[in-house]
């Protein structure tokens, strides 16, 4: 392992690069802002590649660690590190940033520099979330990442953007305030340490564990989002510009789920075990209830947003069954959902850019005028429906296998997604893409250009590569997942 601080680079290159882009100023320099953003995104991704190639998959310890005192008076440190659970998210995040820059290339014509900068800065902050090992550092990144997304929705969003942005902000902020209290309590208990790794080892009594679990639950459940605190997500998605939706679905939703793994499970294992039945029940509600709700949506983006919630239900389900295949399945599902939901929102964006409507009823027969697009959209729709050979299958498959080990009826309920997921995705696809050309606007549609072909093509390759050969992805996780499960199985009381 070289001494390069790859994690710091992954965090600060996009943030500083974003500030640089911001400095290009007004829209007169838009071409420069775009090229510079692309460069920053590419370099930002490049520095994350060693995190994967040099990662020691046999170890469950934190790797690429960096440690600097930050506020010594309160023992707050700039402490970074990744393990098999978090490393893939740093890569995914840096990768998705490139997609987002490409997606906004032509569509965004106003405040280009600000738009690009917001995404770059957000990308750096989110890398910070995934690699922070200090409670306060995590909290700062966690809260700070809200701001760019809030601005993206509030400024470049649709007609009802202010309602959606405020709803999004208040919902998530409210949740994380309780987390802050929990963090401070842990600081006291740990004898003045904000180190997450110290907290993992901290013995805690059951009442304290329960309260901490709830505090974390509220913060993370809102982010995931879990039923019933999910209603901000469809609104946020509908109003957000395409890039915002992509980041929201591909990365932001993963923050909450990641929080469960980094905080709830290892810090309060006994409370997590005790609350598992409730968590599983909520997850299944998300899978089934939300699946039905997705079925009747008339707005494409809302439909995919609901489908995201349903897919995230699989993630939380996988976490709380406490078996390796379920947990790894959940992690795979998170990565895959990053690709698939990102791609679905990009596809909807492609249509929206041309037709300026997301209403399913306004479409029909798109395949006639946009055959290349229809082929990509079909692939992603099938991945969304969990077809084997695509990445969407693996996570669902593993979680269902884990669920059968856990309890047959849980598996039975979870497996209904096979039917529901296919129903809502393909029914939408049918109404949008197949059929006779719906109206004169559809008849005049232009097929995707080179830029759109590029980002959809790259994502298509990711979806297929992961679907056909997931071995490298899961190999990274084993050591950390097994260590986590071993840790959770030992009582802290």
């Amino acid at each position: 392992m070289t001494g390069m601080p790859f994690l710091s680079l992954a965090i600060w290159i996009p943030i500083l690069g974003g500030l640089l882009v911001l400095a290009t100023g007004s829209d007169r320099n838009a071409p420069l802002a775009r090229s510079l953003s692309m460069l920053v995104a590419l370099v930002g991704f490049a520095v994350t590649i060693p995190l994967f190639t040099q990662f020691d998959a046999s170890s469950s310890a934190m790797q690429f660690s960096e440690f600097l005192p930050w506020i010594p008076r309160f023992n707050i440190n700039y402490h970074l590190g990744v393990d098999g659970i978090s490393v893939l998210f740093v890569l995914l995040n840096a990768f998705i940033t490139i997609m987002v820059v490409m997606a906004g290339w032509q569509v965004i014509q106003e405040k280009v520099a600000q738009y690009m900068a917001a995404f770059l800065i957000m990308s750096g902050l989110m890398n910070g979330i995934f690699s922070a090992l200090d409670g306060i550092l995590f909290y700062v990144f966690f809260e700070a990442s809200l701001i760019p997304l809030y601005l993206v929705i509030g400024i470049w969003g649709g007609a009802n953007r202010v309602y959606a942005a405020i709803k999004f902000f208040l919902y998530t902020l409210l949740g994380s305030l309780l987390m802050l209290i929990a963090l401070l309590y842990l600081f006291m208990q740990a004898g003045g340490s904000f180190s997450i790794l110290d907290w993992h080892k901290l013995p805690l009594a059951m009442p304290a564990q329960t309260l901490i679990f709830w505090a974390f639950l509220i913060a993370f459940a809102v982010k995931v989002p879990m039923w019933p605190v999910h209603t901000w997500l469809p609104d946020a998605h509908v109003e957000a510009p395409t890039g915002g939706s992509v980041v929201l679905a591909a990365i932001a939703l993963k923050l909450g789920a990641y929080g469960f793994l980094r905080f709830s499970l290892p810090i309060v294992p006994d409370a997590s075990q005790a609350m598992a039945p409730m968590m599983i029940a909520l997850s299944l509600v998300a899978v089934i209830y939300i699946g039905f709700v997705a079925l009747v949506q008339t707005d494409m983006k809302k439909l995919v947003a609901y489908s995201s919630i349903s897919h995230m239900g699989f993630v939380t389900l996988g976490f709380f069954m406490f078996n390796a295949i379920g947990l790894e399945g959940a992690l795979v599902q998170m990565i895959s959902h990053g690709f698939v939901s990102g791609a679905m929102f990009l596809c909807i964006g492609v249509l929206y850019d041309r037709m300026h409507t997301r209403n399913i009823a306004d479409y029909g027969g798109v395949v006639k005028t946009m055959p290349k697009f229809a082929a990509f959209f079909m692939l992603f729709a099938m991945a969304n429906a969990g077809l084997p050979g695509t990445s969407g299958f693996i996570g669902e498959f593993m979680v269902v296998l884990g669920a059968v080990q856990f309890n047959f009826w849980v598996a039975f309920a979870a497996a209904t997604t096979l039917i529901l997921g296919a129903a809502y995705t393909l029914w939408m696809y049918k109404r949008v893409v197949f059929g006779v050309v719906g109206n004169s606007h559809v008849a005049e549609l232009e097929d995707i250009g080179a830029r759109e072909f590029a980002f959809l093509g790259i994502l298509a390759l990711c979806v297929l590569a992961m679907g056909l050969y997931p071995f490298p992805f899961t190999e990274v996780m084993h050591a950390s997942v097994n260590e986590l499960l071993r840790h959770v199985a030992v009582s802290k009381l």
Binding site: I325, V367, L387, L401, W409, A415, I419, V436
Partner: protein
């Protein structure tokens, strides 16, 4: 990797390469390029399969991994091949029928703008089907299973502008997903309790599994596993009540009806259960379930064939019924008979479908039998090959279908598993029904008065059920005075090449497949089940079997069906009309396919939408958003509204409030002291 292992890989990869070339570079290589690369790919697969067949015959089997797909927990997921007698037989059937269909497609689709896309899809299908049959584990089986479903979906909806086609493909996918739901749970149970997804390892633990009950539910484990797996087979192989998608799948172009929805994909369920015979043998309950479902499908789907007027639909219902026969054979542990019927059926049913397609070409895409008649004069090759196919289907002695169907009936006769009596009745009655609808179609199409070329009266006023709803561009029919014509050689050559095995394959293969040791060590029959052992004792060669067959009930039932069809539709066409009038409710029941579609439409499709609307409007919008979220916001706003009243901005009011406050504080203070 040995040379044989390279050859195994070549079999699925050659069609895949063809599919990719035709699919991604279709424009560059052109129409001829597309059919050349795909036909070449499938031909290579066929030749390789023949070589592998000879190798297997020489006693060389293979069970090994190609690559490790993933590891998790204590499970290893692999992609690998199991090459044995059952696999290689399926490989030959799949690649041969696929090659015939590829060639036929040149003629059938030559005017279609989606020519390259079509070739790409059918080659992709061939790849997926080969992956399915060659698999040595449940993961890859499921991959192939879903992949063939995907291609079926794409091909049923090939003419994506037809509302009926895109309705049918969605329906097919979703109904299959219901089956897959069971299938996935079955695989999950196997993974959870056997700790492996590899066939050989799971089969080795069979008796261990049979001794266990499931945690939580307490059900006998092996029965639950087998029924779950069979639910998957019910979807794919269209068994009642998951059969509803198959008739509608006829919206796809005819070549794929032959390849996918008759010869190969729909038999995947039969193949799978035969492959799993070491598991199914351990559960009599599961076998009985299989038997009853199969018997019901065999007879009751046959009835529906009688009232259809669309040539393709008749053949479709006949496929359903024949799949029922195969399932019945599985239920009575006659797995090799099921697989044998699967093979003979693949040939003669592909022949019948392609024959129907040839008729449709001759009729300029008119599929209604009521507009046909007397076609034997104009389409001699189609006529003779269709006759041969029909004879094979009804089980006429010496034809392929005779040997396979008679074996199934005899096996049911010998079985004592619960439900065998009902099944025997169904398969016997089914013989009569099969003969009747097959020859009804045969006579209406090829003999009798020429009814084509007059008007299209039958379509104009027939909005009563969806069979006739076909968009105009694909359904023009013959103009007045126009005559049908024989199809080009690319169409008739496959007919002839399929007619040969339809006639002779049973005669030559029954001995090794059913009574020899071809499937030894592959298909497992428990000692408590009769299977085919009683038949084996009475078998004295294929000639003796055929001659004996003439003296048995099935032969006379079939002949009765043929004669009745001839009498009804050639001699006295007024009788069926009269029967139809007299037994109107029965006819309505059949015409509406026992109301399965209506039921599904209202209860499942409508119900789901209703639940979705309810949860969305009441749950998400009214309760969560309305009361909890926006309600909180409103409450905050309301409190603020009220407290705002105190902020008047008048100094004397503030001063007054302050004075009162000071008084109250002082009062408390003095009292406290």
């Amino acid at each position: 990797m040995t040379d044989m292992q390279k050859l195994y890989l070549l079999v699925p990869l050659a069609p895949l390469a063809g599919a990719i070339l035709a699919g991604l570079f279709g424009k560059a290589i052109g129409r001829a390029g597309a059919h050349i690369v795909t036909i070449l790919g499938v031909a290579v697969a066929l030749v390789a399969s023949v070589v592998i067949f000879q190798d297997v015959q020489a006693g060389n089997t293979f069970n090994g991994t190609v690559y490790t797909w993933m590891k998790s927990g204590n499970l290893t997921f692999e992609v690998g091949f199991l090459i044995d007698s059952l696999t290689v037989m399926m490989m030959l059937v799949v690649t041969f029928v696929s090659l015939m269909v590829h060639i036929y497609t040149i003629g059938y689709m030559h005017e279609d703008p989606g020519y390259q896309r079509f070739f790409s899809y059918i080659s992709l299908f061939t790849f997926s089907m080969l992956m399915l049959v060659m698999s040595n584990n449940f993961l890859q089986l499921f991959f192939g299973w879903e992949a063939v479903g995907l291609v079926s979906y794409l091909l049923i909806g090939f003419w994506y502008e037809r509302p009926t086609a895109i309705y049918a493909n969605l329906k097919a996918f979703l109904v299959n997903r219901v089956g897959d739901f069971g299938f996935l749970l079955g695989i999950g149970l196997i993974a959870a309790y056997a700790g492996s997804l590899n066939y050989a390892e799971v089969f080795a633990k069979g008796s261990e599994l049979a001794a266990q009950d499931m945690a939580v539910t307490g059900w006998p484990l092996i029965t639950a596993i087998c029924i779950c797996l069979f639910i998957g087979a019910m979807g794919k192989s269209a068994q009642v009540p998951l059969h509803v998608w198959l008739p509608d799948s006829m919206e796809g172009p005819t070549p794929i009806s032959a390849l996918i929805h008759a010869a190969t994909m729909v038999t995947a369920g039969i193949f799978m259960v035969a492959r799993m015979s070491p598991l199914f043998e351990l559960s009599d309950v599961a076998l009985s379930f299989v038997l009853v479902i199969g018997a019901t499908t065999a007879l009751f789907m046959g009835f529906l064939g009688i009232v259809q007027n669309d040539v393709k639909r008749v053949v479709a219902y006949s496929t359903l019924s024949q799949l029922g026969y195969m399932t019945v054979a599985l239920g009575v542990s006659a797995y090799s008979a099921a697989v044998f019927h699967l093979m003979t059926h693949a040939f003669f049913k592909a022949l019948l479908f392609l024959g129907a397609g040839s008729v449709i070409i001759g009729m300029h895409h008119d599929q209604d039998m009521r507009n046909m008649g007397g076609l034997w004069k104009y389409m001699p090759i189609t006529w003779i090959t269709s006759l041969l196919g029909s004879l094979a289907l009804i089980g006429f002695p010496f034809f392929a279908g005779f040997y396979s169907k008679d074996s199934i009936i005899e096996a049911v006769h010998a079985s004592s598993i619960p439900g065998a009596g009902y099944a025997l009745f169904c398969v016997l009655a089914g013989v009569f029904v099969t003969a009747f609808y097959s020859f009804r179609m045969y006579f209406l199409v090829f003999h009798g008065k020429e009814r084509f070329g007059n008007n299209h009266g039958h379509h104009d006023h027939e909005g009563d059920h969806d069979d006739e709803e076909v968009s105009a561009d694909h359904h023009h029919g013959l103009a007045p005075g126009q005559k049908p014509h024989e199809s080009p050689w690319v169409v008739t050559l496959p007919l002839v090449l399929l007619a040969i095995p339809s006639v002779v394959i049973g005669f030559f293969t029954i001995e090794p497949m059913l009574f020899g040791d071809w499937f030894k060590g592959v298909i497992h029959v428990g000692s408590n089940h009769v299977g085919l052992s009683e038949l084996a004792a009475n078998f004295h060669g294929p000639v003796a079997m055929a001659l004996h067959g003439v003296q048995t009930a099935p032969f006379w039932l079939a002949m009765g069906g043929v004669v009745l069809a001839w009498f009804f539709y050639m001699v006295r066409p007024d009788i069926p009309a009269a029967i139809q009038r007299t037994f109107r409710p029965v006819h309505a029941l059949l015409e509406n396919k026992y109301f399965f579609d209506r039921f599904n439409e209202i209860v499942f499709a409508g119900g789901s939408r209703l639940i979705g609307k309810g949860l969305w409007k009441a749950g998400d919008q009214a309760i969560i958003d309305g009361i909890a979220v926006n309600g909180t916001a409103k409450l905050v706003g309301w409190v603020a509204q009220i407290s705002r009243l105190f902020q008047t901005g008048h100094l004397y009011q503030y001063a007054f409030a302050m004075i009162i406050g000071v008084f109250i504080l002082l009062t408390f203070w003095f009292n406290l002291i």
